[in-house]
């Protein structure tokens, strides 16, 4: 079991024939992901990586039966691509692109929600169900099959966390990089619920960072609804206020969005909070050995 995607998930790639899209689609195929085609306007009818190219998402969905789209288009076209996927009946869009304008994402997300499409990202490494399906840019080899679900705003901290969990001998069910932008698709809350309901997931790692209040919302949700052990790390305890720390959304505004307030809220919700990402693996071992 896993959440959202598995070995049977049919995936298309928007921005399929571009440099990034091609490179990562190839890596995903090598991992075992069922990529069934891609979309690049004006290249419909051609073949790329041995797969059909379509002019529109609608054509791709009708012909291939794909339900998930991995999006690699340039930032200015992200909103258009997300809305096209939603209108064509895609149920999950995974947006890798960094640098999409906030106003665009606001509109695209509202449209996606209206059409019942879930979105992961933007500005994220994607989603991976270990040893079954990788939709994104993460190094597949570090994700061994196991029983820990992982949710993270940061790409490299996803790898760091998953690597430690696997080295401790536990492995991953599904890992989701939700992205570091001010407005993102799926957030901790929805994914925590999915992991709670997934029988194969025995514990959850949640990695957050400064900025916004998604981690606080998650803490409230965990307190009421999550019975599985949760280990959390919040990046940016040493970050200065008012500075954007790499990610568009990673900024302490005034006195809001600090690591401390998030760590306190999570601790109050019974979460095992670690102060360094180097402790994630050990903490998982502890909570699962209880």
């Amino acid at each position: 079991m896993s959440i959202l995607v598995n070995k049977d998930t049919k995936v298309i790639v928007q921005g399929f024939t571009g440099k990034e899209g091609s490179f990562h689609a190839e890596q995903c195929i090598a991992y075992g992901t069922k990529i069934v085609g891609g979309v690049t306007p004006n290249k419909g009818g051609q073949e790329h990586l041995g797969l059909p190219v379509f002019n529109t998402v609608k054509d791709a969905v009708e012909t291939t039966g794909a339900t998930v789209s991995m999006i690699f288009v340039p930032p200015a076209f992200v909103a258009d691509a997300v809305m096209e996927a939603a209108a064509a009946g895609i149920t999950l869009a995974v947006v890798i692109t960094e640098g999409a304008p906030v106003r665009d994402m606001q509109a695209a997300k509202a449209f996606a929600v209206k059409h019942g499409m879930m979105t992961i990202g933007p500005n994220c490494p994607g989603i991976i169900t270990a040893e079954e399906c990788k939709i994104g840019i993460m190094p597949g080899s570090i994700f061994k099959k196991g029983h820990v679900g992982l949710i993270s705003k940061s790409g490299t901290l996803t790898y760091e966390g998953a690597n430690q969990v696997c080295r401790e001998g536990f492995g991953i069910t599904t890992a989701v990089g939700i992205g570091g932008d001010p407005i993102i698709g799926l957030s901790y809350k929805q994914l925590l619920k999915m992991f709670q309901e997934d029988e194969d997931t025995h514990a959850i790692v949640m990695i957050g960072e400064i900025g916004g209040d998604l981690e606080i919302q998650a803490a409230h949700y965990i307190k009421e609804n999550i019975t599985k052990p949760v280990v959390a790390f919040i990046a940016g305890q040493t970050a200065p206020a008012g500075k954007r720390m790499g990610h568009a959304g990673a900024i302490i505004s005034g006195s809001a969005g600090t690591a401390k307030e998030k760590m306190d809220a999570l601790e109050a919700a019974g979460v095992r909070v670690v102060v360094s990402p180097a402790e994630i693996g050990k903490a998982i071992k502890e909570v699962l050995s209880k």
Partner: protein, 390 residues
């Protein structure tokens, strides 16, 4: 990206948001000429820097004569203004805005920001104008009105009514003026991809008009590509020179106060590395994300920028190699140490794809001040020890 008050007011004027008349000056002579052109008997001389709290810091002064305009402009131009937002080093004032005096009978607060939880812009207003809004929000949260506006419907009549009744404005003419004001502000927020607008104070004049006495605006960096007119307002002198240089090489750099330089791939891991150093008793000297393409050139540039800071006693290179293989990064680091004279211990932790080969490369190279680490905790511990001279 942020802009100056005088630039924000240029945008306000374009959208019909009333402001006092004013003209920007680079010299005391220009300031005098501007005061003459504006006429009247009272002027305000306002330092233009990208930080709030200018008044308390002595950067905003009232002049009651042309001579006083000249005197104040001479004092303020070239001063290093320290406010609660500039940090102790302060900011050099290079421009002053000369503005006509206003007849103030009441001071309000009005702003527009993105509410990340609601995922839409929210109009914030308060009767407590002229105060630090963070303080108002903390001490008397009931005095702040928040009105979320869904961009798919835009600013409607009911938003305006919520605003004026919330602020206790009862005169129908005043109500209409303020609603028009807020609607224009919302429109310019959306049309310019602003991230935040703050007018503090928004004043009511003796004649019952509303005016933006101050104006602060920040923009979504990701959207600047479609706003060349806003991009043209960028003031490079307001930005940190090292941060700017780093960004030209695709590096995201922010300087901090500590002793251990950090070079990391990925923003989250970069913050996590700083946190780990701190946890182990050290102090991070900077945030530096080299991005997904750490190679010899970017690593060399990273070393160069980190080493500009004389406080740095050790550097911790923490890379989790994903698609980019660690062995290639190891070679990049070796090349970089040839390009830049790295005179402090460099602790290198390479994990992920081909980490074992990478460790081998570093070992064989046998560079005296390059120390290999096995994981994040080990690397941070070694960096902290090295910075302490152990």
């Amino acid at each position: 990206m942020n802009i100056h008050e005088y630039q924000a007011k240029q945008i306000f004027a374009k959208y019909g948001v009333p402001t006092p008349r004013g003209i920007i000056a680079n010299t005391p002579e220009q300031a005098v000429a501007n005061a003459h052109e504006l006429g009247g008997e009272v002027w305000v001389v306002k330092a233009q820097i990208h930080a709030g709290g200018r008044g308390l810091g002595g950067g905003v002064k009232l002049a009651r004569s042309i001579d006083e305009v000249k005197k104040l402009a001479s004092e303020i131009l070239g001063m290093t203004l320290v406010t609660h937002q500039t940090g102790p080093e302060g900011k050099l004032v290079q421009k002053v805005y000369i503005e006509e005096g206003a007849n103030i009978v009441d001071e309000l607060y009005l702003g527009v920001v993105l509410d990340r939880a609601k995922e839409m812009p929210v109009i914030m207003a308060s009767t407590e104008g002229g105060m630090d809004i963070e303080t108002v929000a903390h001490n008397t949260p009931e005095k702040i009105i928040k009105i979320a506006v869904d961009p798919s419907i835009g600013f409607q009549g009911f938003h305006g009514r919520e605003l004026v009744f919330g602020l206790g404005i009862t005169d129908p003419q005043e109500q209409n003026k303020l609603i028009k004001f807020a609607k224009a502000l919302y429109t310019l927020y959306i049309e310019n991809d602003a991230e935040m607008i703050e007018i503090n104070p928004l004043i009511k004049t003796g004649s019952g008009d509303f005016m933006a006495l101050d104006g602060k605006m920040g923009f979504d960096d990701s959207a600047l590509g479609r706003h060349p007119d806003i991009e043209a307002m960028r003031d490079i002198s307001e930005e940190d020179a090292d941060e700017r240089e780093a960004s030209q090489y695709g590096l995201s750099y922010i300087s901090l106060d500590g002793e251990i330089g950090c070079m990391v791939n990925g923003a989250g891991l970069a913050m996590g590395t700083m946190d780990t150093i701190n946890y182990m008793g050290g102090t991070p000297a900077n945030f530096l994300d080299v991005g997904g393409k750490a190679n010899a050139e970017t690593v060399a540039k990273g070393f160069e920028i980190i080493l500009k800071n004389p406080k740095v006693k050790a550097i911790f290179v923490n890379i989790f190699g994903g698609i980019v293989r660690c062995d290639r990064i190891a070679n990049g680091i070796l090349e970089a140490t040839k390009l830049v004279d790295v005179h402090v211990p460099v602790i290198v932790r390479l994990d992920g794809t081909n980490a074992i080969e990478a460790a081998e490369i570093l070992r064989n190279a046998n560079i005296p001040n390059v120390i290999a680490a096995t994981d994040l905790a080990d690397g941070a511990a070694k960096a902290v020890a090295a910075a302490k001279g152990e």
